[in-house]
């Protein structure tokens, strides 16, 4: 078995490149990141024949090697660097029947790099409907390449591609464009100065902002044996180059490609007008958006409850089966609970990406951008940001992952940073309890105060996300000037196997990418909450039993257990921390018990309720019971702890604070560094503290 053949896939967006990657590699795929940057690196293996394996790298979609985004430069950097371990032996350029002319531009550029190239023409099943006929042999002659005509929908042509790859030694390496035709004097000078390097590669290095190792750009500028050109002159030359390439493509297609233009486009045109219509377009979009939200918010609670139940049962079973002790506790309450805390996100992630994959595969996603761009742009966001923002109102974790659909890095980063401001479902238990506690039950104009406050909090979340985005956009200085353009692909029925692959891959990458961090953090927090160094903690049971005996009140077994838990929490590491920060949170209207709940909430917001239940040694987590118990809490001088000022202050704190380690973990994964999640944590904590402080001081 010889070494694997290195194959790179490249092509315009919307050519079905991922379908072909999936068809070749199946489940033998792996997704990671290119080191140091946030571009996804997709690789996989494919068996070409009994003796030959191929290692396939799926390069980011690109219209041309003249890069305008980080994604595209990744492709160029790889293809210019022979010493890179991923440098391909063969490049497969993927085109499709409908936009063949434009797709071929990239093909001519790849060919000019002198790498063996195979052309794939995908979506062959659409030829009949579009009235297109292709003379493959003629085209192979004109383009000096081998062509595989493929339809992933019908599963045809993949074997042809595999055999073409297996026979790679027969592929031509000749160039397409005589580059001297762009500017004879200039390139002559260039050739004299760098006789050993391909002119086209030099040309790319000069015109692109690419880290091309073997040649320093400065050394190019220093040479005086050829004239250097101004930016404008270079651009004119690129114009000439593009014209020359299309002349070549047009003459090749004239001999091999026919399209019957009388074939009407009824359905496509109708759908286009419908989806971009002033009224219907938005209506349809909001229905879709709302459905996504409903499914993530509502339907996913069924599988989530099942997962919760399962891990709860598993935890109890371990505690019952294994001997009591620190190891059992670690496994039952630390590890199992931690794993449960990761797995529970899977339904929401799966559902969200199911929707997103359907929207993208069908071609509808571009229409979303078309509708929303004008609205999102003032805030520094992309038209596509609406989907993550909306999903964030259910849960930020899948929402942050969904920002992948945004190509512009600055817009994507800003969306990632502001999504946690939207009111996620974990805040709801906190809001509901506090509102029940401190907001009066009256009505105004027929609307209940409590309902109004809740709605207000939802608006607050959304508006602060937009404001934060606007502020970040004005202050973050990181943009390669990107000119806005979105391609509007023809509407197609989504291929379900591709949708399946996407869902599977996203789920996997979440579990292994963010899951480890979440598990680690939840074990740490569990440890800090159930252990303490003081004697009070260690002797909790004895101290409490003594207290109870001294009061001679009848107390049930269950009540004793709850009192012990409460006492232990108070004297654990977290409890000590809560008491320690009390002076800092008093100006916000909180006492040390609320302080403890705040700290545990930094793991996950909904923990607030459970923590309070423990602190007040309430038997069950029934909301009314807790609310009733909390209403009885008094401070040193007998005033209620949970008054209006404190209550609203807590609401504001939870609205703005970053209290979700899972979100931090996923932001870390998506931005490929700890810098951004830490900035997010710092900024939101400061904002939450300040806002609650002001709120409390104003209301008290």
């Amino acid at each position: 078995m010889s070494a694997a053949l290195k194959v790179a896939l490249i092509g315009n967006p919307n050519t079905g490149k991922s379908s072909i990657f999936n068809a070749l590699t199946g489940l033998r795929q792996k997704v990671g990141n290119y080191p140091g940057i946030t571009v996804e690196k997709k690789t996989g293996y494919c068996k070409l024949s009994d003796e030959l394996e191929a290692k396939i790298i799926d390069l980011p979609g690109a219209y041309s090697l003249n890069t305008t985004s980080l994604d595209e430069s990744v492709a160029v950097e790889l293809l210019l660097n022979k010493r890179d371990e991923d440098f391909p032996d063969v490049v497969v350029v993927i085109a499709e029947v409908e936009n063949l002319k434009r797709n071929l531009l990239l093909f001519t550029q790849i060919k000019d790099l002198g790498i063996k190239t195979v052309l794939v023409i995908n979506m062959a099943d659409r030829m009949g409907r579009l009235g297109i006929s292709l003379d493959i042999q003629a085209l192979e002659r004109e383009l000096d390449t081998k062509i595989a005509l493929i339809s992933t929908r019908k599963n045809e042509g993949i074997d042809t591609l595999k055999s073409l790859l297996a026979a790679h030694t027969q592929l031509s390496e000749s160039e397409v464009l005589d580059i001297n035709r762009i500017d004879a004097n200039y390139f002559e000078g260039l050739k004299k100065t760098f006789p050993k390097i391909s002119l086209y590669k030099l040309w790319l290095a000069i015109t692109q902002d690419v880290n091309f190792m073997p040649i320093e750009r400065q050394s190019i500028a220093d040479q005086s044996s050829f004239s250097t050109k101004s930016k404008d002159e270079l651009k004119k030359m690129q114009h000439r180059e593009t014209v020359l390439r299309y002349q070549f493509i047009n003459s090749a297609l004239k001999k091999a490609y026919q399209k019957d233009f009388t074939k009407a486009e009824g359905v496509q045109g109708f759908l286009d007008r419908l989806f971009t219509h002033k009224i219907w377009g938005y209506l349809i979009f909001f229905v879709i958006l709302f459905s996504i939200f409903q499914v993530i918010f509502d339907f996913s609670s069924y599988p989530m409850d099942a997962i919760d139940g399962f891990f709860g049962w598993l935890s109890e079973w371990v505690k019952g089966t294994m001997p009591a002790g620190i190891l059992t506790d670690l496994i039952a309450e630390g590890i199992i609970a931690g794993i449960g805390g990761v797995v529970i996100f899977i339904p929401q992630i799966a559902f969200l990406f199911l929707f997103i994959a359907l929207l993208e595969e069908s071609g509808y996603m571009s229409r979303v951008v078309f509708l929303m761009d004008r609205l999102m742009r003032p805030f520094g966001l992309s038209g596509k940001s609406v989907i993550p923002l909306m999903s964030g109102m259910a849960c930020a974790i899948p929402a942050v992952m969904a920002t992948r659909i945004i190509e512009n890095w600055k817009e994507r980063l800003i969306t990632i940073l502001v999504v946690p401001f939207t009111t996620c479902s974990a805040r709801l238990p906190v809001y509901l309890i506090i509102i029940a506690l401190v907001i009066p039950e009256g009505r105004i104009f027929g609307l209940g105060y409590q309902a109004l406050v809740l709605t207000g909090l939802y608006f607050l979340g959304f508006i602060s996300a937009l404001l934060a985005a606007a502020i970040l956009s004005a202050n973050l200085k990181l943009n390669r000037k990107n000119f806005f353009m979105v391609e509007m692909p023809t509407f197609k029925t989504p291929q379900l196997k591709n949708v399946g692959f996407t869902v599977f891959e996203k789920t996997k990458s979440f579990v292994f990418g963010a899951g480890q961090i979440i598990l680690a953090l939840s074990i740490v927090i569990w440890f800090l909450g159930s252990n303490g160094y003081s004697d009070d903690f260690k002797n909790a049971k004895e101290i409490l039993m003594a207290q109870i005996e001294s009061t001679s009140e009848p107390v049930s077994e269950l009540e004793i257990e709850h009192k012990i838990s409460s006492y232990k929490l108070e004297h654990s590491y977290i409890g000590q921390l809560g008491k320690f920060i009390e002076p800092a949170v008093q100006p916000l209207g909180y006492d040390w018990k609320i302080g403890i709940a705040l700290i545990t909430s930094f793991a996950a917001r909904e923990v607030f309720v459970g923590t309070l239940a423990t602190i007040y040694s309430v038997e069950d987590s029934e909301e009314s019971t807790i609310v009733g118990r909390m209403a009885l809490e008094r401070d040193a001088v007998g005033r209620p702890i949970f008054n209006l000022a404190t209550g609203v202050s807590i609401l504001i704190f939870y609205a703005f604070a970053m209290q979700c380690m899972s979100t931090l973990a996923i932001v870390r994964k998506e931005t490929n560094s700890w810098k951004w999640p830490m900035i997010q944590l710092g900024f939101m904590t400061v904002l939450a503290y300040t806002a609650s402080l002001i709120t409390y001081q104003l209301l008290v």
Partner: protein
């Protein structure tokens, strides 16, 4: 000769010889070259962006860029 941001839906034109310097290489590579045909397909509800058919490619660009693409109207 008018710029394509002034087109009405369904109107077509042919791109003029002299390309404005503001037009980025990417737009040229999509097909915005002298002699190619442009047709306005749709205008977004808030008047921006604009959806064109450019030499067979269906793309949407913002008004601020469409201003620079000059065509001769086809009758």
């Amino acid at each position: 000769m008018i710029s394509i941001d002034r087109l009405r839906i369904g109107q077509k034109g042919v791109i003029v010889e002299e390309l404005d310097a503001h037009i980025p290489v990417k737009l040229m590579e999509i097909g915005c070259l002298p002699g190619n045909e442009v047709e306005l397909i749709q205008i977004a509800p808030l008047n921006d962006p604009l959806y064109f058919l450019v030499d067979g490619s269906r793309i949407a660009i913002r008004r601020e860029m469409a201003k620079y693409v000059k065509i001769d109207l086809k009758s």
